[in-house]
Structure formats: structure tokens, C-alpha cells
Amino acid sequence: MAKKIVVDPIPRIEGHLRIEAKLNDSNVIEDAYSSGTMWRGIEVILKGRDPRDAWAFTERICGVCTTVHALASVRCVEDALGIDIPVNARIIRNLMNATQVTQDHLVHFYHLHALDWVDVVSALKADPKQASVIAQSISAWPKSSPGYFKDLQQRLVGFVESGQLGIFSNGYWGHAAYKLPPEVNLIAVAHYLEALDFQKEIVKIHTIFGGKNPHPNYLVGGMACAIDPNKDTAINIERLSMIKKIIDDTNTFIDQVYIPDLIAIAGYYKGWLHGGGLGNYLSYGDFPETSLADFKTLLWPRGAILNKDLKTVIDVDPRDASQVTEEVSHSWYTYEKGDSKGLHPWQGETTPKYTGPKPPFEHLDTDKKYSWLKTPRWKNHPMEVGPLARVLIAYAKGDPMIKETVGLVLSKLEVGPEALFSTLGRTAARGIECKQTAGFMRHYYDQLVANIKTGDYRTFNSDRWDPATWPAECKGFGYTEAPRGSLGHWIHIKDQKIKEYQIVVPSTWNASPRDANGNSGAYEAALKGTPMINPEQPLEILRTVHSFDPCLACASHLFDMNGNEITTVKIV
């Protein structure tokens, strides 16, 4: 009989992503279902509030990419009210966004995803001298002596011996799907720790411009930071040189650690090209060089690709009611005029109606409604969003930097572009993009300094700050490309208050349940066809789901005094 694997988050009160995968007799995934087990509900909280405050609420949707919702929110309010922001504000927002993407990709690769490819316990068996030889052959990064790796190995041994593997007790160590030699595992573990240490520096840029971190300050009409090269309390020469140093260090770390690691690790896994999935890719684009409305100047281009056809990039308009829609045929919501009809977010509704089983439950009834995520579609197509989508769209449009970096990675791995349509391709695209956004940080720093030198210190346009200047009723759309993909906020303002607010987040695209036509979402499609070595330890499922960098409701984190596992695996 066919087996079913259920990967489920616990505690249920936190709520997260649940995957149910059906296996055939050879343990290959025949079908998969992705369910968000918790309601986000921020749209309801926002109703009736001052649109100028919306960013502060939406920023707290996410504990990982904190700034992206603030950015999309101020952009949608400015779009609705017709506000142009000063040049400095545009540059600072771009710099903060590039900082966010760079830091987020780095943390994702090392902290969440690396352990899907890297076996910590195998690193204990490595020869530190050999690890040093390998590390020095792939990078000029100075922390690569035999003594450095030996010390680290001894520290790891200490942790592992402090009882049952200590803090690493929850891994699938020794799983046959791990392919790296012990020395490469040791190098990767060293960089895992270095990356977590280093990433703390990158976000200091957010503290400088946003006034505080976590949850830096944004502002409708610009940015809430003053620029004055000669004042202690403003963005001055001292702060700018601090930013410059962080940017330089970040570029060095990515060039000398992240990219060489990515290529070294991928080289051992290039035979494992599962997880491609839909083959449909969408990006709203981001990093405006002029106004946001002029999307032709975006450094990350806007567009869509269908059926892996890299020869054709189709134009995208998220304001068009026939393009971006959300339906709820398999989601625990109800629409006034029928759950199967897709609604554009400006017509969107958020009425929860839970019809699933009472937790704890064995199975979701996947023929009916089975997720708290809605089902977004672009012209009725399920789409993948995120780094792979953006890199493919830029590649297809002939972006020189992306063409060159993709070409370099492919040639080092000795694979063709078709290898990009895979879990590994998604992981490689994130690294390629991280290198690109670290370059954007330099670009925006230079732009900012050049603009300040002209004597322009403006960061805020107050023309429409007073609600008395607003129209009685208006609508706006704000977008950004978050680390995980296309993010849109749609607002409807009436009588100076929020009448409706709809957010379509990247992981709703990727983790969506089926639509009324039975089409799978991106996670569901990507899991199909993947062979499992040991269904009790579904490392392959985690690998592919992690490659999308899921972002579901963060909700209220609780502190579990028993240190219980937060994810269970059951075979039923």
C-alpha cells in the first residue's frame, strides 16, 4: 500500500508549514500537499487604521525579513496618495533592501539550508590538514589553517560529547543522501559559524538608517533619518564610513566564503537535480533607479516565464484585475461570490472559515480545503517566485552581470542551464543573487554619497502628510521583491482610514494549495517525482522545501522550557 509522509510543525499553537507526501512502492513521491496551519489575519487588524501607521503593523508579520513589509506598505500608501519621495529616500530604501536580501540569503544558506547538504557528525572524522588544503585551493579566505580547523573540530567534539550530540541532536546525521567528504563538511561547519557571526554586522546598516533594529523605522513620504555631514545626530561622515566598511566586508565574505562553498558543495550534488517543479516564474521587479512607476528602470526586471521557456519573458501588470488573483477553493476562507473565483487584491476579501479537522489530526482532507494560505495565480497559472525566478528572468532578458555569474557557476560545475530547473538550481540562484545584491549595496552607497555631495539632504516629502490633503477615496499598490520573492500590498483608503488592505506574500505563491482547476502550487509540484532513500528521515523533502526559503506566519513565538522538537515526521 502507498505510504504517506507527514512533516508537521509543533507546537501547533505556533502554526507553520505542513507537508503531506504520498509515496509509491519504490518510495518516489507521487503527490504532495502543502498546508499553512496558521492564519495570519493582519489584514483584519489594519482595517479602520491610519494608512500612515500600516507599515509598523505589517513590518511585524515577519521575524526574518523585517523590513520588506514596511517597504511594500509605505510604497502602496504613497502610490494611493500620489506622493513622490526624495532621491535620498529612494537610495536609502534601495540600500536597506539590498542589505536585507544579502543578509537574508546568507543566513538562509548557512543556517537553514546548509545542514540539508552538510553532515555535522561526519565533520568530526575530517583530517584538519586536508581540510586546510581544500579550503586554500578554493578561496583566499584567511581563516583556513590546519590549526583553525583542528580547534573547531575539538570544539565540536566537546559539544557532541556533552550528551547525545548536544545542540545538534535533531539532525539526520549519517543519512545516505549526504554526499560530502568529511573535510568539506568540516569547512562548511566552520563557515556556518562564521556566517552567523558575520551576519550581525550587515544589519547594522538598518540600525543606522532605520534608527533601530529589529523593526527599523520607515515613513510614508520618505525615510525618518536626517542627513547632515556635519551633525552628530544625523547620517554624517562617520556613519557613512562605517556603512562603507560593512559593505566592503560583506562583499569579501560573499566572494571568498559563500560562493566558493556553494560551488564546492554543489559539485558533489550535481547528480541530484530533483525539485524543479512548475517551470513558471514570476517577478514584480525591484530596485528602482528612478520612480517606482517607471518599472523599465528596475535593476531587477519585471516579467514572467512559462514552461521553462527562457526565450520569452512576458510583461506583468499586478494592477490588472485579470492578472494577479487569489481564490480560496482549497483554503479556509469564504468569498461572497464563490470560493473558486479568483479575486484581484483590490477586490479581495479576508473572511476566515475553518472547516478542517480538529487538531491534533492524522490527515488533512486534501480533496477539500486544507490550508490557511490562499491560492494566488497569475493569469490562472501557478507561479514560482523568489531568487530562481528573478535570476531566470534577468538571465532571459540578458542582464550582463547575471549572465556572467550564472555562466561562471555552470561552467565550474560542468552543467548546462537546464540544471537550474531544480532544487540545487534554486540554491545556486540564491547565491548568485546574493553576490549581485552585495554589489547593489556598493552601487547605492556611491549614489548616496554623490547625491549628498550636491548639497541635497532631503529625505522626506511632507506635502501630503496632512490627511486633509488626501482625496476622499483612493487605491494604491506597493511592491517589492523580498528575499523570498514577489510581495504585493494593495490598499483602499476611504475617509482617511484604511478600508481594505490585502497582502499577497511570496510564500503564498510558492506554498499555495491547489486551485479550482486542480493545479498544484510550487512546493507541491517541486516535490513530485523525488525519490526518498529513507521515508522515516525525509531529508529530501526538507531539502526541496528549504530551497524555497519558506516564510509562513511567524505569529507568537513561545519559549519551550522542555526544548522539545518543533517538527515531527510521521509515516501513515
Binding site: V64, L112, N170, L193, P550, S556, I566
Partner: protein
Amino acid sequence: MSAVNSLQESSTFPDTVHFIDGGTQGIYLLDFIESADAVIVFDALIPLNYDRRVYVYRNNELPDFIHRKMSSHQMGFSEMLGIAKLHGKMPKKIVMIGAPPKDLELNIGLSPELALLLPEAVEQARAIINTWLSE
């Protein structure tokens, strides 16, 4: 958050004591933990079936784990402690003050049951900080 705000509003501490609203953050809090000599954290606790009162845990009583998880969003505070320990940068003193929540429905603010416990949690923290400052 209510506890931090309350403590900060009535604070007479020197400016070596910092107040941080950790929000929903995970890894962004690592720097604050690793760079501090001593840390007090207010949080909601599980198991939910614990008696509803204020709990205080110190140093090694706090669990540290790197969990197998579906996304970076599941990175909790125990994981921050695990990483700080691996880095060899754990604060010398760390205290967790918390209580099991009454109500996890969508709302802003504390339930009345937890609001009753708030003054005690804040006073416990104030006493601990005063002891640290006098050492």
C-alpha cells in the same frame, strides 16, 4: 513587550541597561545576546498546562537546541542560546522571566489573567538587575 515597556517607563537604571523590544525576531537578536554581560528575557512559556504564575529560570536551566525546522521563521530563543554557546559568546548571566499564556487568539495586548502577573514579573526583573548592578 508589555513587561519591557513597563520596566523601561519606571526605570532609574544607568544607561548601561538597554531595553529592547525583540518583536517577532529570531536571528537579529543574536548580537544583543552575544554582546551583553547579562540578559533578562521576558517571554511567553510552554508547556501551556503549567500553573499560571511567574516563572524565573537562570543560566543552565534554559534549554539550547538547534532544531530541525521547516523555515528560518521557526528559529526561537533557545536556538539563539545554542548558537551563542557555539560561538563561545554566551552572556555570563541570563535569566528568563515568563508565564504560560492564557489566550492565543488574534488580539493586541495581554489577557486579563496575564496582566495580573505583569507587576510581579517586572519587580522580579528590577530586583535582579539591581543585584547585578551592585555586584
